[in-house]
Amino acid sequence: MTSAPGGRARSIPLLGHDTEPTLFELSAPGRQSWQLRTTGVPDRTVDELVPAAHRRRELVPIAEVSERDLVGHFTRLSHRQFSIDLGAYPLGSCTMKYNPKVADAVAALPGLAAAHPGAPASLTQGWLAVLVELEEALCAISGMAAATLQPAAGAAGELTGLLLMRAWHAAAGEDRRRVIIPDSAHGTNPASVTLGGYQVTTVPSDARGCVDMAALRAVLDADVAGIMLTNPNTLGLFEEDIAEIAGAVHEVGGLLYYDGANLNAILGVVRPGDMGFDIVHLNLHKTFATPHGGGGPGAGPVAVSARLAEFLPGPRPVRLAPGADGGPRFGWETPARSIGRVHGWHGNALVLARALAYIEVHGRDGLLRVAERAVLNANWLRRRLSSSYDVAFDRPCMHEVVLSAATLRKAHGVSALDVAKRLIDEGFHPPTVYFPLIVDEALMVEPTETESKETLMALADAFEAVAAEAVAGLLDHESPRHTPVRRVDEARAARRLVATYDARREE
C-alpha cells in the first residue's frame, strides 16, 4: 500500500497482514483535531508579533487528520505491538515484570503531574518528600549512604558514577586512566567509560562464568580508577569472589562500581554496599517495575558510600530541621564538591514516584519475595530446559539463565535467532539473543517473578517444541509467520537509509 485516503476507519492491520498507513498518508487538507481554550486575549497578527526576518514563510507541515482518524491510527499501531500486559516478555537483562497499575494512578495525580519544576521549595513540599523518601529507600535497599535521583536512565547513571569516580581521584590529586570491565558486561559500560574520559581494560571470565581473579590481579595497578561490575553478572551468576575482588581493587586505590541492571535477584538478600561497592546505579524501570514505554523513560539513580556523598550532583532534595512555625520540612542543597547537574531539572520525577509506590506496596517483606520468586522461576526454567538446550554455565543461577543454541546450530543449522523468531509464533516474546557476547548463540532468559508456574510451563513447552522441530529438521528460517510483518530486512534499512516519511517520498 502506498497511500490511503484520510478518514478511513478500518481495522485491516488487525485482521490481516496489510500495512498501516503513516499519519502523513492519512492526512486530508482541511481536517482538524485541535480545540483550544477561549481566552479573550486580544488578537494581534503575526506581523505585529514576529519581525519579518524571523517569520517563517510556510507552516510546518504536520498532517491534517480528524480526532477520529488519530484514534484509529494510533490504536491500530498499538495492535501491532507486543507488551508485558499482553504476555510473558522473558528478555534477559531487561527485567520485564508486570507493571502494577497503581503506579499509573499515582503518577496521574494532578498534584504530582501538574507541578512545575521551577516552583520554589515552599510550594513543592510533596514532591520533595517523594524524592527524599525514595532516596532513603534506595539507600536502604542498596546499602549505601546517599543518592542522586537525577540520572534519567541506567547509562546516564553509569556516566554519573564514572564522573564521581573521576572527582574522587582528582580530589586525592590523582589522575588515573583505566577502568576495568569484565568481558560479559553490558555495552553501555564501555561506552560510558569512554565518555567518562577513561580507557577500558577488559578482564575475561573464568570457567565458572565469573571474573577470573588471576587475570584481574594481573591488570590491577595504581592507574586503575575502578572496576564496573554487574552482580549477579550478565550470565545470571553471582560473583562469589566479590569480597576478594573488592579487597583487591580497594588495595590499589580503585573504586567499585555496581551496575544495578540485575539487582532484582538480590533484593533483601544481599546489598551492594555490603559487597564492598562504592557507587551503585539502579534501574528503576527494571527492578522497580516502572513501565519501559517501548524504550524509555527510565530512571537511573546513583547511590554512593558516605565518603563519596560530597561529590554527588546537585541540587539535592534534603530534609530540613523541622521549623516550629510549621515551615517547609524539605529543601534543596548542593553538596560541597558536587560534580554538577546531570539532568535539566530533578530527574525523571514521575518515574521516581512510580518506583516509590512500588517499594511502599512491597515493603521489606515483599521485595524479598520478589527476589526469591524471580530466582525460583529462573532456576526452574534452567532445570527444565537443560535437556533441550545447552546451558552456558549449568549451575544454580540467579534471576536469569543463559541458554545456548550452539549444539542446535552445529547439528541442525538452527541459530539462536531462528529459535527466537519461532517462539514469537508460539505467542511468546523471545529472550535476549546474542548477549552476553562471550556465549555462542546465546538465548538469555529472564522470566521475572510475576510469571506463574503455568506460564513458565507453557514457555518451556514452546522452547522444547522449537528444539524438537530443529532436531527433526522441521525448523526453517521463515518464522515468524503470524505477526503483522515477517522477518524484516535489516541490511536494507541500513544500506538505503529511510529515517523519515519525507526521505521515503524522495526515493
Partner: protein, 458 residues
C-alpha cells in the same frame, strides 16, 4: 501481605522439589554467607495499594504549586494536552513494551517513532532526527559531542542564552571527554560573540538558544556567519513551539538542532520525564547519538520498520560508540507524535501565535506597573520574557502564590550559583521570567497583573 506474585504455596513446594531444594533460601547458596543481609531491609512492611495511594494523595496535596495558575516556564510549559492524547499515549501496548529489539512484534512503537522522527525533522528543517534523548539538556550534551567529533576541535562556545541548567549539565559532562566550554555572555538578551576569548583556541562548536532562555529571538544569521568563518559546527537549541511561527534551525543554517520536547504533549511533572529532541544534517548521520528507526521491507515485501545504523550504538560498538544512550524517552516521543497529529499543520502555528499574543498582552500590562522594567533590550519575544521587579522576585512569587498564581521563575533560582555572566547578583535577585501559554485567559492575565501590582507595592 498482598502483592503481584502468582505463586501459591503449593507452586513453590513443587518448584523447589523439582530443583531438589527444600527452601527458598537455598536458592541463594552462591551468595557468601558473610555478605548476606541479616534482619531484612530497613524498610517498612508492605502496605496495601489503597494505603499507598492515600499517602501519595497527601503528598500531592502538599504541592501547592499544582493548584496555581501557571505563568512559569523556563523550559517547562503548561500547554494544552487533550484527553485524546492522554488516552492514546496511555495505551498499555505503548506503555508496557520494551525497546523494540524484535521488530516483528514491535511495529507499533517503531512506526510511531518513525512518524516522530519525521515530525522532528520537519520542525528542525533538517533531514535526520533520532528516536529521542532524555531531555533538552542531554540533547545539548550529545549535540556538542557530535560537533566536537565532526570538527575535531574540543573548544565549545556556548551562548549564555542557552538554558542555565542545560549549560550546567554540559559543564558536568564536558569533564570526561575534556571539552573546553567557553560561555559567551549576553548583553540585554543578546549574545556578544565578539567577546568570546580565542585564548583556548578556535572553537569546533557554537551553540545558540533560539529563543534564548530569557525568551529573546536572537539573530542566528550572525552565529552562522561566525561558525562559517571559524569552521565550526552550529548547534541551535530551539523551541519546537516557537518554530510554529519562526524559521527552523535548518533554514537558519544550523548543522544540529537540539531541543526540549516537553511542550509537545508532556505534563509538567516536576521536570521529568521529558523529551530530548535531536536533529542533524545528512553529513552527520553516522555520528548520530542514540536510536534511529528506518523503513525497510519484510520478507514478503511489505513495508516495515526497524532500528537501524545500529553499528553506531553502545551494544555493538561498545567503547567506540557515538554515545552511551540505551534507554531513551520513547513513550514521550510517541506522545509527541500523537500531540503533533492532534495539533496538525494549523494547530502548531496557532498555539505559537496564541502564546505570542498572550505574552505580548501580559508583558505590556506588567510593564505598566511602576518600577517594573524589561530585563532585555529591543529583541523580539514570543512565549516568555524577563522582567526586573522593584522587589526580590522570590518574595513576589511567594506573595502571588497566596493569590492563586505561580508568577514565574525567579532568575537567581534558575541561574543558581553559577550565575549568568551578564546578570549581576542584584539583577538576578530581582529578575522574573514569565511565560504565557495558549491556556492562559485574559482574566487570568489581568488577575496576575493586579496581584503583582499589589505585591510590589506592599
Amino acid at each position: 501481605m498482598p502483592d503481584y506474585l502468582p505463586h501459591t504455596e503449593d507452586d513453590i513446594k513443587e518448584m523447589l522439589a523439582f530443583l531438589g531444594l527444600s527452601s527458598l533460601d537455598e536458592l541463594f547458596a552462591t551468595v557468601p554467607a558473610a555478605l548476606r543481609l541479616s534482619g531484612g531491609l530497613a524498610l517498612e512492611e508492605g502496605r496495601p495499594e489503597p494505603d499507598v495511594v492515600a499517602r501519595f494523595e497527601e503528598r500531592a496535596r502538599a504541592n501547592a504549586t499544582a493548584g496555581l495558575v501557571c505563568f512559569a516556564g523556563a523550559g517547562a510549559y503548561d500547554h494544552e494536552v487533550p484527553a485524546v492524547v492522554r488516552s492514546l499515549a496511555g495505551r498499555s501496548e505503548f506503555v508496557t513494551s520494551y525497546t523494540p529489539y524484535q521488530a516483528e512484534v514491535a511495529q507499533g512503537v517503531l512506526q510511531a517513532v518513525f512518524e516522530f522522527q519525521t515530525l522532528v525533522a520537519r520542525i528542525a528543517g533538517l533531514p535526520i532526527a533520532n528516536a529521542s534523548l532524555y531531555d533538552g539538556a542531554s540533547a545539548l550534551v550529545e549535540g556538542v559531542n557530535l560537533g566536537v567529533a565532526a570538527s575535531g576541535r574540543p573548544v565549545v562556545w556556548v551562548s549564555a542564552g542557552v538554558h542555565p541548567h542545560w549549560r550546567a549539565v554540559l559543564d558536568t559532562f564536558a569533564v570526561g571527554p575534556g571539552h573546553r566550554v567557553v560561555e559567551v555572555p549576553l548583553d540585554l538578551g543578546r549574545t556578544v560573540w565578539e567577546g568570546a576569548a580565542e585564548a583556548g583556541g578556535a572553537p569546533g562548536v557554537l551553540v545558540l538558544g533560539y529563543p534564548n532562555y530569557l525568551g529573546c529571538l536572537e539573530d542566528p544569521a550572525e552565529a552562522r556567519a561566525l561558525a562559517d568563518r571559524l569552521g565550526a559546527v552550529l548547534v541551535m537549541a530551539a523551541d519546537p513551539v516557537a518554530v510554529g511561527l519562526v524559521k527552523s534551525p535548518g533554514e537558519w543554517g544550523a548543522d544540529v538542532m537540539v531541543g526540549e520536547g516537553q511542550a509537545l504533549g508532556v505534563p509538567l511533572a516536576f521536570g521529568g520525564p521529558y523529551l530530548g529532541l535531536f536533529a542533524c544534517s545528512q553529513e552527520h548521520v553516522r555520528r548520530l547519538p542514540g536510536r534511529l528507526v528506518g523503513e525497510t521491507v519484510d520478507r514478503d515485501g511489505r513495508r516495515a520498520y526497524v532500528t537501524t545504523l545500529r553499528a553506531r550504538e553502545q551494544d555493538i560498538r561498545r567503547e567506540r560508540a557515538t554515545s552511551n544512550v540505551c534507554t531513551n524517552e520513547t513513550l514521550l516521543a510517541v506522545t509527541a507524535a500523537i500531540q503533533l497529529g492532534w495539533l496538525g499543520t494549523s494547530g502548531l502555528a496557532e498555539v505559537a501565535l496564541r502564546c505570542a499574543r498572550g505574552a505580548r498582552y501580559c508583558r505590556d500590562a506588567l510593564l505598566g506597573i511602576d518600577g517594573v522594567e524589561p530585563l532585555t533590550g529591543e529583541t523580539p519575544v514570543l512565549r516568555e520574557f524577563a522582567l526586573r521587579l522593584p522587589v526580590r522576585a522570590d518574595l513576589v512569587i511567594g506573595r502571588l502564590a497566596a493569590e492563586g498564581y505561580l508568577a514565574g521563575v525567579a532568575l537567581d533560582q534558575l541561574v543558581g550559583d553559577r550565575g549568568d555572566g551578564s546578570l549581576d547578583a542584584e539583577a538576578a535577585a530581582h529578575g522574573l521570567l514569565v511565560a504565557v501559554t495558549e491556556r492562559r485567559t485574559r482574566a487570568e492575565i489581568d488577575g496576575l497583573v493586579a496581584a503583582l501590582d499589589k505585591a510590589v507595592r506592599s
